[in-house]
Symmetry: C2
Subunit: 427 residues, 2 copies
């Protein structure tokens, strides 16, 4: 029996970095982990969820509905409330009413976390050999999805307010010249407090990126989409909100908007959502049916109840204050312990600080620095994991993704001090 | 803009029959639907779930754990309890202790319903053009998964106690002769109270099928798997349990066992599981990570608590009694109203009766009979939807899948009477 029974995907798919990091964490109980993408444990809405679950399950009618199959697209009330919530957010960000059409519940799909939406969208759009543009750096689990499916990636440089538009144009132009633009399917942006860089993309940049993509569609021979991953949008503790790409002129027809309730509310409930234009919505709905018929109804009812009762809205300020404190603790520790050669920006939302060292610093998985950090009892996500495999440039090996999401303030301070010590030695 | 942006899968995937049937149901509120695969609404464990949710969410420690991310493979306690439960079932069916190895938690993956396990298994094993053997008839949503991925299917005739082994051998032999056996990946069997035929496969037949597959592996050049879908196993209200294929000599290395808690307990909680041999377990675990990181922890904690507290065990007899009553109501109505030319067996478990008419009867989606039934206010699943697209034989067009799962006894009686009237006219 010589050959593997596995499919191409089965053979191609690699061990996710996240499980390797998790194993490391579990094997060293005294580790200060600044690596996990977990949310803040003490502020999880246990009391709220208890009350909401009790209200749903104390009546036979609502209880049975929550414990029965639902529709594949998702619970109508949850879709309605999500649509209104999002439209209100965008209207506030624009300082004028956003156009209702883009938020229609008929364009929405409720998923098991926004991760599932990213997966299904990729399935609906990309074949092996297709190309997706991503930020440099980007969300590493999305890179895993693309890698497993044999999709090629090109990295677009990231600036303080989103991708470098001239670099985007340069890459589009080079794809046009090589003819490969016919394989280009979408641009993927994590637009709010990006994982890993914490950068927020300005609405102006989203609009300009869409206009650029639109110009290249005639060369591609098909629509070019912007997949806007807004996973961290609600975790804003400073500054003003930016409108979503849905508000751009091309938005309704070219933007796939992915949002989630996992980060801002009940993480373990895993409810996410997407707004998709046709023909993507229909294709994704059918794929979702094959995956699981629809998101667990009990979870959807809980989220709908949280939105309806105001529990969701009143939980947010509390959560934002928690993250703001933890972000300040991490920033203060960075100021105190990190040498000057490490660049980082104080976060205004999200869960991460992206610390960039001088080129001479190697923070990679196999680096001496990573091993020293482990020995010193601190874990981070090596920045190199967040870069697309794009041979047109050399990915940075000198960054660290530091998370203040899951760790307690004391762990954050301790981990940052240890890291600071090592960084100083590397100077 | 001439061409579609969709992937091959996005273009290939068809509207699932189930959404078309659902739309029909929704558009006619007075319809007696014997089509839906819903579970029995009044017996959903609302009180139990309420109590279990309260116990989990009334303590910060367990509440936070339930609302935080978990591991991709699934909650360790749920895996442990599932493994013990399954091993106890198989030991009872064998009348001797089953071998522990096959049930090890390290081989297990918890999924959003067993549907997700079917999906991920197919992803890990099958490329476009590969071949999967299925029962004739089989579960139509699995056919959708295969169709969307461009996987070819061959149907194996079904007898009263499982597939016709000589037909399986014949098909394997013809695949060997044509060389296509190199593209064969697995045999898919719904082994307990099959959807749609209600047939249960005997353990002897599973063992013999595995032995046959094993003989053809040298021609295939890779392992040939049996995907055992045991979704309806717990819904047995008559007769003895059959051991799972895991108990066959080839079981631990060649069987993928898919089970679920959606049918026998909280449907809307959507928790399923699989036991998989290597290298499938590793591949599926990685794919599951890309899908959603892991099944919603809150749902897993609820199921683990139900198994631990005995709520699951005490719910089963109640549920089985409900389905037994409804099955009897449907069987009595069939005896009273159906003409003699309609063949069906009284169900001993599951949710379905498979009614097979004479060859002259056409029950297909586009048939006059289907339209007449709709006009008479009754909906069924046309049997033709349950047959693989296998050009080597003509699929039967004369069967109806009738479900007693979701409908009330009065609806069942009324629907069966209406159908009986129409069937008599067609004689």
């Amino acid at each position: 029996m010589s050959s593997s029974p596995l499919s191409q995907m089965g053979r191609r798919i690699q061990e996710p970095a996240i499980s390797w990091l998790m194993r490391l964490t579990l094997s060293r109980p005294n580790l200060s982990s600044l690596a996990a993408g977990f949310t803040d444990n003490p502020s999880l809405p246990v009391r709220e969820t208890r009350r909401l679950a009790e209200a749903i399950l104390s009546k036979a009618s609502t209880g049975r509905a929550a414990l029965q199959y639902g529709s594949t697209a998702g619970d109508p009330t949850l879709r309605e409330l999500t649509s209104s919530h999002l439209m209100a957010e965008d209207s506030a960000a624009l300082s004028k009413p956003a156009k209702r059409g883009a938020y229609s519940t008929g364009r929405m799909l409720i998923t098991h976390g926004s991760q599932q939406l990213l997966y299904i969208t990729t399935e609906s759009l990309c074949d092996e050999g297709d190309i997706v543009l991503v930020e440099d750096p980007t969300y590493f689990v999305f890179l895993s999805i693309l890698q497993s499916r044999g999709v090629r990636t090109r990295g677009i440089r990231l600036e303080k307010d989103g991708i470098d538009l001239s670099h985007l144009e340069e890459v589009l132009e080079s794809l046009r010249e090589s003819g490969e633009i016919r394989r280009l399917k979408m641009l993927y942006l994590v637009t709010y407090f990006q994982n890993p860089s914490s950068v927020t993309t300005s609405f102006e940049k989203k609009r300009a990126a869409l206009a650029l993509l639109s110009r290249y569609e005639k060369h591609a021979g098909h629509p070019l989409y912007l997949l806007e991953d807004a996973a961290y949008r609600e975790l804003r503790f400073e500054g003003a909100d930016e409108a979503s790409a849905l508000c751009a002129p091309e938005g309704p027809e070219r933007v796939i908007y992915a949002g989630t309730y996992s980060k801002p509310f009940a993480t373990g409930a895993r409810v996410g959502f997407g707004l998709l234009p046709e023909p993507l919505h229909t294709a994704c709905l059918r794929i979702k049916g094959n995956h699981d018929f629809g998101t667990a109804n009990l979870l959807q009812q809980l989220l709908a109840a949280a939105l309806k009762s105001g529990d969701y809205a009143s939980h947010l300020p509390h959560l934002r204050a928690r993250y703001a404190r933890k972000a300040r603790a991490m920033a203060a520790a960075a100021i105190e312990h990190f040498p000057k050669c490490i660049e980082w920006d104080p976060p205004r939302g999200g869960l991460y600080i992206w610390a960039l060292g001088p080129k001479s610093l190697n923070t990679g998985m196999k680096s001496a620095f990573f091993k020293q950090a482990l020995r010193a009892g601190v874990l981070y996500v090596p920045g190199e994991l967040c870069f697309a495999r794009d041979l047109s440039r050399r990915p940075s090996k000198s960054a660290l993704r530091l998370s203040f999401g899951g760790a307690e303030a004391s762990v954050i301070r301790c981990g940052m001090e240890r890291l600071g010590c090592l960084l100083k030695k590397c100077q």
